[in-house]
Amino acid sequence: MKVGLFIPCYINQLYPQVGIATLELLEKLGVTVYYPQGQTCCGQPLGNSGYEEDSKGACQVFVENFKEYDYIVGPSGSCIYHVKHHFDILEQTPDVIKVRNNAYEMCEFIVKVLGITDVGASFPHKVGLHKSCHGLRGLKLGSCSERMDPYYSTEEELLNQVKGLELMPLTRKDECCGFGGTFSVFEEAISVKMGKDRIHDHLDSGVEVITGADHSCLMHMEGLINRNKQPLKVMHIAEILNTSM
């Protein structure tokens, strides 16, 4: 099994610790991980802003980097969603199709492909799970509150096995945090209000650490938490799962 590690641009530049945790965690679980050099971006910020055409170069770079891997694993639901869903703008060559089919969000890879839910982590804290929209409704990492399907959650399956971790129930289980890429800048007022409301839900539920499988949402909420000096920590799920006993 040849696994290529996809580290999204903003994680590479701003949150290297998330990339590190992802790599270490996968290795801990016995996976040989390759990290192709020369990664840039999946093109999502461009596509979501209406500049899909201008993202073709980035998408092509992505395909070139990852075409030889059986699995492409990344710690960001929205980027993976973009690869799977929006790479339809490229000519559908066998390479492109392969890359789209083999791209996995990290939690999904661990649970579905590796078949592991207990990664041997320990994290004795009260944790609130932020289900990112692209991971949840796009990649279907869990059942959505709007749909009448049987309940499941890939991230919860993993977190429930973490020693000492207490998963706190939220009032609005899967409402959007308001990041939305360039939405966070061009619809600043609403974006900030949505983020504040999400954070309040976590605070009201006694959460100490907010986690999730998409660091862009977490970056947005962390920005608000830090500005408002709120008693909450933000960690990517890979960081929690990578803690050891």
Partner: protein, 456 residues
């Protein structure tokens, strides 16, 4: 004004935003509970979506069939290509009957055609009889929601409005008192109306009949008392068979308000002896939307409003921020098809979270259509120079790994060492209410290279 600007203004009063958000979230929760009580809910949605897609692929034939059956039943059928024709047809009918007083039940189509101001200019009194619609009519405002037209108004505001227009006493916004006052006021209007205008929820091809749903009974009060009933429908309201109502009526009210069915679902097939029923079938841009493969499914819409109730942006910006007849997510995919320039900010008023598509009873892929409109708008509408050049440059950077690596390093350097006053300047919308991430000494690439060297 763009949606973002309007939303910013709405957000100046945070308490009101919270109130608006909670009121609509409550409706969304009622919808969830109600849907949970239906075995096979997702199969219902699949069926409804499939029926609608089928109808659009055979719409001309179904309209002809509908017309034939309606005519046979003694209903008069009119066709209008656009809003102007629609309004003229209605005015002609009113003139034929020397009608001066009209009662109208909720119809988003007549809002879309701006029928009220048109008729009022001709000296005709038009009274909206749905309570919410009457409230916004008295306030001289457009509805802010397609099912809950006055959801943006507090009960205290309604209280003041009714004191002014209906002569009520101050009641601190007692909903029961105010509703009762409106009932008396509207009863008089119903009894004196010459013509009743209603919308159409569903038009049935194989019977030529149509269904109108209200909770208040206002459509029926109007239609059964007046001599003439005019029902206005968009071409997409057609369903093939009466039995299909068994699918759509199970979905409509549950999605809209969480009720198991609307209080009154009235099936009109033939006029009462001595009275007239007219149907006006309207295009007004719908056939054009039908031609757009990516956006065609927006015509599935049955106007339940569920996408508005669930939309985290709608709940926090209010319906008026969309400046469109149909606000919210569904409006944001319908409106650009009518006037791309005017509505070009709407597809961007979304995080693409996808909740709208999930609640939609006819499974319109709303968030995917928002994404697609964005691509068109950027191509066809002039974009702010800064936004455009930044994003175009980003595209180039991401396509060249060497350049990206260089830029990434410089940007992190700048973020780390530039003065805070520069980073948090007015130009930086991110930093107005949020801190920027703390910049580490190395990025993941650097760390990985170092590790490989050490291990190597």
């Amino acid at each position: 004004m763009s949606h973002a600007k309007q939303a910013e203004i709405f957000n100046k009063n945070e308490a009101k935003v919270n109130w608006h958000d909670k009121a609509l979230w409550y409706v969304r929760e009622k919808r969830d509970n109600s849907a949970h009580n239906v075995k096979g809910w997702e199969h219902l949605r699949d069926s409804a979506s499939g029926i609608k897609a089928h109808v659009l692929s055979n719409l001309d034939e179904y309209l002809i069939q509908f017309e034939q059956n309606a005519l046979q039943n003694g209903i008069k059928v009119h066709w209008a290509s656009d809003a102007e024709e629609h309004n003229t047809i209605i005015h002609e009918i009113l003139k034929d009957h020397k009608a001066e007083k009209v009662v109208k039940s909720k119809s988003m189509l007549t809002e879309e055609c701006h029928l009220n101001p048109y008729l009022e200019e001709k000296g005709i009194e038009v009274i909206d009889t749905d309570l919410g619609e009457r409230i916004v009519q008295l306030a001289k405002e457009p509805p802010s929601h397609i099912v809950l037209p006055a959801i943006h108004k507090t009960k205290e505001e309604v209280d003041v409005l009714f004191q002014e227009h209906l002569g009520t006493k101050a009641s601190q916004g007692d909903p029961e008192y105010l509703t009762n006052a409106a009932r008396k006021h509207l009863r008089g209007k119903f009894l004196n109306a010459d013509v009743a205008i209603t919308g159409v929820n569903f038009a049935v091809a194989d019977t030529g009949g149509f269904v109108v749903c209200t909770n208040e009974g206002n459509a029926d009060m109007g239609a059964h008392l007046a001599k003439v009933h005019i029902a206005c429908m968009g071409i997409e309201k057609i369903i093939p068979k009466e039995g299909h109502l068994g699918i759509f009526l199970r979905l409509l009210a549950r999605s809209a308000t969480g009720q198991p069915i609307t209080t009154y679902s009235s099936h009109f097939n033939k006029p009462t002896e001595g009275k007239e029923i007219h149907i006006v079938i309207v295009d007004n841009g719908r056939t054009e939307q039908l031609s757009r493969e990516d956006f065609r499914a927006s015509l599935h819409c049955i106007r339940c409003g569920a996408c508005m109730n669930t939309c985290p942006i709608y709940r926090r910006s209010g319906g008026h921020s969309y400046d469109a007849t149909i606000p919210g997510p569904i409006g944001s995919i319908l409106s650009p098809g009518k006037d791309l320039k005017k509505h070009s900010s709407l597809p961007f008023a979304s995080t693409l979270c996808g909740s709208c598509s999930n609640v939609c009873p006819v499974k319109i892929n709303i968030h995917e259509q928002l994404y697609k409109w964005r691509q068109i708008i950027v191509k066809e509408q002039p974009q702010p120079v800064v936004k455009k050049s930044i994003l175009k440059m980003t595209g180039t950077v991401f396509s060249k790994p060497g350049l990206y690596s260089f830029i990434g390093k410089s940007a992190r350097f700048a973020l780390k060492y530039a003065p805070k006053s520069l980073i948090y300047s007015k130009l930086n919308a991110w930093g107005k209410a949020r801190d920027l991430p703390e910049v580490k000494n190395e990025n993941f690439d650097d760390w990985y290279k170092k590790r490989s060297k050490n291990n190597g």
